[in-house]
Each structure stands twice: as C-alpha cells, then as structure tokens.
C-alpha cells in the first residue's frame, strides 16, 4: 500500500547516512523489501489498556503456542498406527501385553525418552488450560459487552477457536489408544451411528469399516496435528490482526472515551509485560506438569472393546456433552423397518445448540437495540442486567451438564445415589437457567441501585456522628469527580416502541411480525424493571444543595 512512499524516501536516505548503525541498516534492508517502517509507525507505540481480564486472551494464545511447540516434539516419537505389538518397555505391569503401536509409542515417550513424560504432560495440561482460558476469555468478552460493533466478527472467530479447540482436544485425547480414550471413541462411534439414514455409512467411512478397525488413530492423527491446528492457527492470526486493528476496549473512567484508548505503549511496556507473560504462563504450566500427572495411560492400559473402567469421562471441555448423553431418557422409535435413536440423536443435536446459544446472542442484542454505533467502552455487567442474566443462565446450563457428565464421581464422593443426581440434572437442565436468570437480574438491579445511592448520597464512611439534638447519623462522603463520572458513564437503552398501528386517518399501518417480536424483546431487555434509571444531574444538584444546608 505504501511501497511508493518507502522506496522514494529510502533511496536518498541510504546515500546520506552511510554510517548508520548496523541495526538500522538491517532495518533499512528489510524496509526496502517488506515496508516495515510503515507497519511499525502504526503499531510500535500502540496503546494497550491495563486490566487483568484483558490478559485472559494472552493465556489462550500462549498456551496455544506451548501446545504447538510440545506437539511438534511429540510427533517425533509417536507412531500413529494401530498394528498390534507386544509391549517390552520398562513399565513392568504391562510386560508382554498386546497393544497398538500408538499405545506402545506413547509408553515409550513416557518411560524411555528422557523428558518425554514432561513434554507429554505439558502438552496435555496446556490443552486443558487452553480450553479453560478460552472459556473464561469468552465469558469476559460476553459480560462486558466487548462483542458489540465493530467486534462481532472477532467474537465469531474466537467462538470458532473454542469449538475447534474442543475437537482438536478430543482427537488428541484419542490418539494414545488407551482404554479410557478408546471408550470415548466408542461413544463417538455410537453417536455417529444414531444419525438417521446416513449414520451407518458415516461410521463405516470414518473408521474404515467396523469399529474399531485399524484406521482411526492414523486418521485422527492427521486431523489432530494438521487439519484442525492449521485452521486454528489461521484464525488465531486473524483474531490478533483484528484486535490490533480495532484497538483494545477499555472500561469507563476519567479521560477514557469512546474515541480514545488509554494505556501504555506496546514498546516497551507491553512488549515486556506480554512477552514476559508468555514465559510466566509457560513456567507455570511446566511446574504443574512436574507436580501433577495427567492421563497416566500406563495405569489405564491399552484399549480393548470388551474392556471398560468406571469413571469413563472425556476431558473437561467435552464434559457437558457427556452430561447431555447421560441424563437423556432412552427414547427409541422403531417403525417401518427403521430405528430412530432419539436417546442418542437428541443429545447429538443439543450439543452444538448449547454452544450456538451463546454465540448468536450478540447478534440478537444488536438486532433488538438497532444500535449501529461503535462501542469501545466496556459495560460493567450490572449495567446490562438482561445480558448478564442470560450469560449466567447459560453458564448454569453448561455447569449443570458438567455435573451430569461426572455423575458417578459426584455419587461416590458425596455419598449420593447416581439415579438421584441424574434426576437432579434432568430437572435443572430446564429449571437451572431460569432460576439463575431471575436471581442474576435481581442482583444486577440491586447493584445498580447501590451505585445510584453512592452517586447521590456519597459513600458510607462508617463514621457515626451525633447531631446536636441527639440523633446519630452515618457520615456519607461525597464521591469525587472521577468516581461520579465512572459510575454514570454507562448508557441506558429505552425500550423500542412500535408506535400506533393506526395512523391519524384511521388507516391501519402494517407492522411486520419481526418488528413486533423485536419490540417485545426490547421491552423485556430494557423495559420496566430491567434497569434502574441512572441518576441525573438535576437529582444530584437537588440533593447536594440540600446537603449544603447542614
């Protein structure tokens, strides 16, 4: 875009500055070919706001990099093959057992390659943390409204990364071909079989024949190390480019407006903080991998389709789908020579819907508000009660399902009946989100009221004062200008009005159904009882002038 400029200015500069330092000459060389000066001009002193929750995305990025680094190392030793071999490595309790080469080579990595176990554990711990960090990062973006224009596309990129991360994790978990992961793959195959009409075909094609066959490890391997991470890498780059392009959001505060971004420059502060944070993340994950074991396949044993262990769960990020399948009643319809396996197929359908529910919310909100402006100031969750309540309801839904996915462990560790837990999850799958929605909204409104009180009457100081006539009062300290601004900076939407459906001449105006729905939603989100009107300057002046008479 700016090649003309750079060549034009670089040529004479090269003549006049013969004794430029080596670093500058290298930069000149690169600039002449890559245009790095123009790039750096916009980005070198780019401003990033400071807040711990803005670093959650960095945890995701860094754990992703750690996973790629350790993953490459693991590919040097792992054999993605299902040929059966006898084990003759150094772990005694498996001596002479038949196992696939995949399992055998994972044993080799764990027991005979120096540091192999550490890298395996870093890889797996980083994967769990990667998904957990993406979840928390996504919730941060959701609850602060950072997904609003212009960031909707980046929200979708992030969402896709989370979903792809789940499947990359699942395929990776399956590779060692141990008794636990094999059970998981068997479950997946059973779920694929339940798909009406094409299920058996899909299963045969996926596994190269009947389950387990001899192909799935090799196939999952290429999906796990090439296809999915390749797509994810592209999405990560796009995600980061957009973060740079949009500039980071910030919380309301003195000096912070929708038209600026306040913080520290990339060079040097953020270079040091973000760069340093990479090492901190890597260091902590390495220490966790030194202290705690993960997926000890030697204790699980090689996969055999006629063996199983209790406590068969997927990694946590697939836990909610496990919950769905565990609590579903066993419905099955047999008619006209065909079977519709609703007991498995319905959970298979709800599984993506759970995820889509949170992904589409930003678009619904944008449609209801009709707000086309850019938003760079974050909402405090309490100031968007309906959104916050929806988010908490969704998380409740998700965690109720996670409980369902671990129902056997809840049963043994809390001395409960597994059947009772299953029924609890069945009921709270529906009731949980509703309760969470109502409670959260109430809490948000309460917090808004408190903010309003603080603005109008000041902060409770805890000092008790006795008035001349004997009355005791607590002294309220008025807030300073900064606090007053911060607590009143949020915007409040008015509910949408459709207006009269009949005009002044008595002619009926056509109102589309979608508009009626929109108005209804808008009333639900911003109408009565959904927000506390924020204090106005008039209210404030009236009260403060009253105080002045003391």
């Amino acid at each position: 875009m700016s090649t003309e400029n750079t060549t034009a200015t670089a040529a004479p500069a090269a003549d006049s500055r013969k004794k430029a330092p080596a670093g500058e000459r290298v930069a000149d060389w690169a600039d002449g070919r890559l245009g790095i000066y123009s790039l750096a001009k916009a980005n070198m002193r780019k401003i990033f706001p400071d807040h711990w929750s803005f670093m959650l995305g960095e945890i995701c990025l860094y754990s992703f990099i750690i996973i790629i680094l350790t993953g490459v190392y693991l590919t040097l030793f792992f054999h993605p093959s299902m040929n059966e071999v006898e084990y003759h490595g150094s772990y005694v309790p498996l001596q002479g057992q038949l196992m696939s080469e995949a399992f055998n080579s994972t044993m080799h990595i764990s027991f005979d390659v120096r540091g192999g176990l550490l890298i395996r554990q870093i890889h797996h711990w980083a994967a769990l943390i990667f998904l957990a960090a993406m979840f928390v990062h996504m919730m941060r973006v959701f609850f602060t409204g950072a997904f609003r224009k212009p960031r909707e596309v980046n929200w979708l990129f992030g969402f896709l990364l989370f979903v792809l991360g789940m499947f990359t994790g699942f395929t990776g978990y399956s590779l060692p071909d141990d008794l636990l992961s094999g059970t998981g793959v068997r479950f997946m195959q059973g779920a694929v079989l339940s798909v009406p009409i094409v299920g058996t075909y899909l299963s045969m094609f996926l596994f190269g024949g009947e389950f387990p066959g001899g192909d799935f490890v090799a196939r999952f391997y290429s999906v796990h190390i090439l296809l999915l991470p390749g797509i994810m890498l592209g999405l990560v780059v796009a995600h980061l480019i957009l973060v740079f392009y949009h500039k980071h959001t910030q919380f309301a505060g003195p000096g912070k407006t929708n038209k600026n971004v306040v913080g520290m420059p990339l060079l040097p502060v953020y270079m040091a903080k973000a760069g340093g944070f990479f090492f901190l993340v890597f260091g902590i994950i390495a220490a966790v991998s030194a202290i705690a074991t993960i997926n000890p396949i030697w204790a699980l044993g090689p996969y055999r389709p006629d063996q199983v262990s209790t406590g068969a769960q997927p990694d946590w990020y697939m836990g909610f789908s496990e919950g769905l399948i565990r609590v579903m009643p066993g419905w099955e319809i047999n008619a006209w020579g065909h079977t519709l396996v609703l007991g498995v197929f319905i959970p298979l359908i709800i599984f993506p819907l759970v995820l889509v529910a949170i992904a589409v919310y930003p678009f619904i909100e944008a449609w209801v508000t009709g707000d086309k402006r850019e938003h760079h100031i974050l909402d405090r969750p309490r100031n968007a009660p309906t959104r916050t309540a929806f988010g908490v309801a969704w998380m409740t839904w998700y965690f109720v399902l996670l409980v369902g996915g671990g129902n056997d462990l809840w049963a043994t560790h809390f001395h409960l009946s597994i059947n009772a837990i299953t029924w609890f999850v069945r009921i709270f799958f529906f009731a949980g989100p509703v309760i969470a929605f109502i409670v959260t909204k109430r809490i948000c409104l309460g917090l808004q009221r408190r903010d309003k009180d603080k603005v109008l009457h000041g902060r409770e100081s805890g000092l008790i004062k006795r008035l001349p006539h004997g009355e005791f009062i607590e002294v309220h300290e008025p807030l300073n200008k900064e606090q007053l601004h911060t607590l009143t900076a949020h915007e409040q939407y008015e509910p949408l009005e459709i207006g009269p459906t009949v005009d002044e001449n008595g002619v009926e105006r056509k109102v589309k159904g979608s508009q009626k729905l929109r108005a209804k939603l808008s009333k639900g989100m911003y109408g009565e009882d959904t927000q506390i009107p924020k204090p106005t300057a008039e209210e404030y002046k009236e009260i403060t002038s009253g105080h002045g008479h003391h």
């Binding site: 002193r45 401003i47 027991f111 005979d112 120096r114 540091g115 550490l118 068997r186 479950f187 009409i197 299920g199 075909y201 299963s203 045969m204 094609f205 024949g209 389950f211 066959g213 003195p254 000096g255 407006t257 600026n260 971004v261 306040v262 040097p268 502060v269 040091a272 340093g276 090492f279 901190l280 260091g283 220490a287 991998s289 030194a290 202290i291 389709p305 006629d306 199983v308 209790t310 579903m328 099955e332 020579g337 065909h338 079977t339 396996v341 609703l342 498995v344 449609w367 009709g370 056997d408 059947n419 200008k481 007053l484 009143t488 915007e491 939407y493 509910p495 109102v511 508009q515 929109r518």
Partner: protein, 352 residues
Amino acid sequence: MSSQENPAENLPSEQESAHGAVAVADEAHPFADPGLPPHEHRVQDIDEQAARRSERTVALLFTISMLATVAFIASFVAFPVDKSVYIWPIGHISALNFSLGMTLGVALFCIGAGAVHWARTLMSDVEVADDRHPIEAEPEVKAKVLADFAEGAKESQLGRRKLIRNTMFGALAMVPLSGVVLLRDLGPLPEDKLRHTLWSKGKLLVNMNTNEPLRPSDIPVGSLTFAKPEGLEEHDHDFQTQIAKAALMIVRIQPDNIKDKRELAWSHEGVVAYSKICTHVGCPISLYEQQTHHALCPCHQSTFDLSDGARVIFGPAGHALPQLKIGVNEEGYLEAHGDFDEPVGPAFWERG
C-alpha cells in the same frame, strides 16, 4: 436481521464529556468526564536507590533463570530415566520428570517475572491516550471503491455475457464433486455387517480368563463370567473388531427368579448369556449387581434387569441387551444355538 425500518430508535445519547483533558465538570455538569488524572510518580521514579533495587531484583531473576537452565541440563544428564524419588507430599515420582519440570518452570518463570518487574517498576508508567478512528471508510473512499468495482465489473463483461457466467458457475459448482467422490474409499458400505457376529450354532462359549470352554457347573448363582466364541484368539488380526461385537456376559440366576419367559427358554438351567456391549453407544456393560440382577453401564448408567430379559430400567439406552440362545453339547460344554437374533451394540437407522 438488520433493522432497516426503525419506527422509533431510542438510542441513548452519548455521554457528555469534557473536551480536552482539563476538568470542566462544573455545577452544570456534575458527571462530566474530568479527563485523565494527573500522573503520580512511583518510588522508583523519584528515588534512584529504589530504582537500583528494582534493577538488582530483575537481574537476580534473570540470573536464577540461567542457573535453572544449567540445573535442567544437569538433571537431564544426572538422573536415569527410571529413577524414582519420594517427594513429600506428592509421593513416589520420577526424579527426572520432577527435576526437569521444576527447573524448566523456574527458568521460564523467572524470565517472565524479571521482564514484568522491569516493566512495572522501571519503564515509564505514564498513561497515554491514543485516538481511535472510525472503522467505516469515509464516504469519498466508499464511493471511489464502488465506482472502481463497477468499472471492473463492466470491463469483465460478466453481466452481459450470460453464457460465460452460467457455465463458469456450473463448472465451479461441479468441480468439488471429484473431491467428494474420492472420499468413497474411506470405508466399505455397511451392508449387513452390523447384524452378524462370530457366534453360530455349535460354537463353544470360551472363558475369557482361562481360554477354556465353559461348563454349566462352572457357573454358580451370583457369579459373573465373560466369554468369547471358540476360535477367536487375541493374536487374530481382527480380534478387536470381532470382540467388539461378540463379547458375552454370563450369569446364573435361579430359574424361579427369571421373570421373562423367553429368557428362561434361551438359558440353560438358569445360565444366561447376554451381549456385553451396551445398546446405548457400545460400552462394555458389566457392572453386575448379583443381588438385584441389575447390570449398570459405567459410561452412561443405563441399567438393565438381567432377570427380566435385560430390559432397560434406567438411563439412556433404548432397548434390551440381546440374549444369546445357549445349550449344552454332548460333552457337557456350553454352546451357542446360533447368532444373536438382533444386532448387538448401539442402535442405528437400518436396525429396524
């Protein structure tokens, strides 16, 4: 989804904000933006000694990192891969894994901690405001782009030459079909593969534990035994695929306690043989409670009543476990009277 027609847009007004950094929050605008607060100095900014202390801390952290890397290499060389140590409170663990992980962790963490401490205490902490620019293009830019596009589109003549357009779309739509066709050989067609197992008339029930054929007298009431068809050996190349369908679970129930008539008829003196593969999604179900005769699946808790035709009494499974009709041959060994009369394992569309 966009709102072309908004009868009444009630967007809130922009927050009143002070123009410029100087506070103008006055009587009239008590909530106006007072602007960035003035910068306050850190100890390190005004006290050179404190700054030196910070410098030494950062350098110390970087030095610890170097030492940790040396320790990493030393432990790699020093500890044999199978050496075990007891570390309280973790337990008996691999010396190599623990030392490599901890030294690597310390080496990395100290680099990070050093860099962050440096940034926090010594680098400038003056907050800077940067202007944002709207993402949307200026109207002139937009007009220029649209005009350029129209020009290009016109020059291509795509709109005029419908024949080119239609055939091009046709070609582009069809070419991916080759890729789809290529996927055909990923696997065989299902045919009736899921309907048959290795069991057939006269095949002996072989004990999984001993690899010996079973006699009814081997199996007392309350016991649990797993069996495979005679002739299937662990070293067979298709063992995994065959056992995934043929695995059997054998229990003995007092004939008076068997509620299902067909179950009784297909058993031998109360010895009943059920498929071990769950009808839900195929886990090997075998959590047999001998007093209740219930069998629970460890994966998703489908519960089957083995004394009542293995019907489902709880959980997500949709139908009973298939039963294998068994009897005794002339030598007194348990044998199958044929294959299962229905497909084993998870249900599928063609199951019927």
